[in-house]
């Protein structure tokens, strides 16, 4: 036996240089944006654009989760934006409750007698649920007064939902297209439920005013937006490290094996369903955290955010960025969502064809759809594939054969030599 044949156990950073490069770029970006922001004086970047960038970082984080579950484990979940939305609702409940409480206390303080707790509670409920014709707290708001409990809900609600859904779906060996449809059904059912006024979450109004942090009314949005921007950048960095650690070891080996040929993994003795459940739940939790950071920057969360199309967009971002590589997901989410903001924000110049004017606000989704089809057909590696051109990494020549028999298996063009 030769020692040279054994892999030398190098430090993590050296074995995965892309992780360090990514973190360095993210740090530079964060510092650069901070320096140029309104909140810190230079004022080159407007506060609303800081929010857009902060939201984009959250989308990158949820795309990372999507890449882990689809790109690495082969589960094409079309429901992860539901977990993202639930994270937003969980934090939104506290934000709304705490801020309304302050307003109600202020207005009641003018009265001759100090208000009873019941009066305060009724006042808050009337304020929040007046729009849906109710003045009582629904049971799910029982913990809305407590920030720690609602923060726990950010993790627990998506996590438990994913655990139950995944357990039911995976143990029945639902895979491929059927699993995708099932996840779409889950997100559709959830959004339809939330659209109802008596869902307890203000129906189609959703939760609003989330950009105002309770007790920090004096602090301008230019500063608050930076706090959230930093928090989003930190969450993305930690999320990236976590995902990189997961996929780099034997666990990563097993989930990629499940993606390519799950029956074979079973015969190696690995409980495939348990692995899928762990990945599905973990990514749901990551999505929930991303959502909890996103919606305070967006200011509002409503059931439309959980609509099935949102999760499909998520898959499109990861596909356009290049699945099965972490930075691909981040690039895809950042690129597509920023370009989308540009096109739908009315900044893109319309094209006058003489007989018809292409207005990008309307035509952007068509362009996005076409580029998705184009990437799938002609550049399966996505934008991340450009990195392969730079470092001269080639796909294997397998005469068109996928890398495994399963639906989610890597395609020839997606693989490295």
């Amino acid at each position: 036996m030769t020692d040279a044949a054994l892999p030398r156990r190098q430090p993590f950073a050296l074995r995965f240089p892309s992780v360090m490069i990514f973190l360095a770029i993210l740090a530079l970006f964060t510092v650069g944006v901070t320096v140029l922001s309104e909140g810190f004086g230079m004022g080159v970047i407007s506060t609303s654009f800081i929010k857009t960038l902060g939201k984009t970082l959250c989308l990158c984080l949820v795309a990372l989760a999507m890449d882990l579950v689809w790109g690495y484990c082969g589960i094409l979940s079309l429901g992860h934006m539901a977990f993202f939305g639930l994270g937003g609702y969980a934090i939104g409940m506290w934000l709304m409750y705490a801020r309304t409480e302050i307003i109600v206390l202020e207005s009641l303080s003018a009265a001759a007698l100090p208000p009873t707790p019941q009066e305060v509670s009724d006042g808050i409920a009337t304020q929040i649920f007046g729009v849906v014709g109710s003045s009582e707290f629904p049971p799910i708001w029982a913990f809305a007064y407590s920030l720690p409990l609602q923060l726990a809900a950010v993790v627990l609600v998506p996590g438990v939902l994913a655990l139950i859904f995944g357990w039911l779906a995976f143990r029945s060996r639902v895979t491929g297209v059927y699993l995708s449809i099932l996840t779409q059904a889950m997100t559709l059912a959830l959004s339809l439920h939330l659209f109802q006024n008596d869902s307890g979450l203000r129906g189609n109004n959703g939760l609003s005013g989330l950009q105002n942090l309770p007790g920090l009314g004096e602090t301008p949005q230019s500063i608050v937006s930076l706090w959230f921007f930093w928090a989003s950048a930190l969450a993305l960095a930690l999320g990236y490290l976590l995902c990189a650690w997961i996929v780099s070891g034997k666990f990563g080996s097993v989930i990629r094996a499940i993606r390519d040929d799950e029956a074979r993994v079973r015969f190696l003795g690995y409980p495939v369903e348990a692995f899928k459940l762990v990945i599905f739940t973990l990514t749901a939790v990551i999505a929930g955290i991303a959502g909890a950071l996103y919606y305070p920057q967006a200011g509002i969360v409503n059931p439309a955010e959980i609509a099935p199309i949102a999760s499909i967009y998520l898959a499109v971002w990861v596909a356009i960025g290049g699945r099965g590589r972490l930075y691909g997901a981040v690039i895809g989410a950042a690129f597509v969502s920023l370009v989308s903001t540009w096109f739908t924000g009315g900044q893109a110049p319309d094209i006058n064809l003489g007989f018809y004017t292409i207005s990008w606000v309307d035509w952007w989704t068509v362009l996005l759809g076409l580029s998705f089809v184009g990437v799938t057909l002609f550049a399966p590696k996505g934008i991340g594939g450009l990195v392969d051109v730079l470092i001269d990494r080639k796909s294997p020549n397998r005469h068109g054969a996928d890398l495994g028999p399963d639906h989610g298996a890597l395609r020839e063009q997606e693989a490295d030599k």
Binding site: K250, D260, R264
Partner: protein, 246 residues
């Protein structure tokens, strides 16, 4: 020698077609056994039943010292209890290196959390290197297994099975697509493996079976037609008629 696996009275039908019909089969510990039979004799279904992929309509499959029934166990549980299987077409994880393939197969706890926090110890790396040498892939440890030749993939899969260290090894047509020299090496590996565990080899190629030099079971239409040494079964009239005489 004590019995390791006992299959008795097993039947399974697919849409009315009886793939396995009242089949009974026994194998002892550290026994090498060849299973032969014409196409459609039920050889692959037989392996599917033992490994839990197919549940039989009736019959019993009893395994190990504690005589547990394999019928109520999942594929992964059966594999964990020591039943390894090699498929007809080589199935390795093509996007991953030879090293990763072997490391994944290495006998370790299989739960998600222990896998997540797994760090290969020096002796694990050495074990993988030893296995690679045994299957002639030392020089290819860090190549993607998808790049290997057909024969090399067959060996890698055999190496993965040895890494699993099963008590019962089921091998489906190991010599398919191999050169004569590779076949010889494969026979050696299998006979070596049978010194420490039970090995069942399903094979078409008579020459290969002869070289294994072991007890042979002939399957036909889902049940056992004859059993004994190769010479014994090749003299059997029925065997000649359904299989060898064609």
């Amino acid at each position: 020698m004590s019995t390791l696996l006992e299959v008795s009275g097993v039947s399974v039908s697919f849409d009315g077609f009886k793939a396995i019909n009242n089949l009974s089969f026994q194998i002892a510990e550290r026994e090498l056994r060849a299973v032969i039979g014409p196409n459609g004799a039920g050889k692959t279904t037989f392996m599917d039943i033992i490994t839990g992929k197919t549940k039989p309509d009736e019959g019993r499959v009893i395994y190990g010292d504690k005589s547990v029934s394999l019928l109520k166990m999942s594929e992964s549980k059966i594999a964990q209890s020591g039943v390894g299987r090699k498929f007809q077409r080589p199935t390795v994880f093509e996007d991953q290196s030879v090293f990763d393939n072997l490391m994944m197969a290495l006998k370790k706890t299989r739960g998600p959390l222990s896998v997540l926090f797994f760090k290969p110890a020096q002796k694990d790396n050495e074990k993988v290197a030893d296995l690679a040498e045994q299957i002639g892939l030392s020089g290819a440890l860090h190549r993607k297994s998808g790049e290997l030749s057909h024969g090399q993939k067959q060996w890698l899969e055999i190496g993965m099975l040895l890494a699993q260290d099963p008590r019962l090894l089921l091998v489906d047509e190991p010599a398919a697509g191999m050169t004569p020299a590779e076949r010889e090496h494969t026979t050696d590996i299998l006979r070596e493996a049978a010194k420490t565990r039970a090995v069942v080899v399903v094979e078409h190629d008579m020459e290969f079976v002869r070289r294994l030099n072991c007890k042979v079971t002939v399957l036909h239409e889902g049940s056992v037609l004859a059993e004994g040494s190769l010479d014994h079964v090749t003299k059997n009239e029925q065997v000649i008629e359904v299989y060898l005489g064609r």
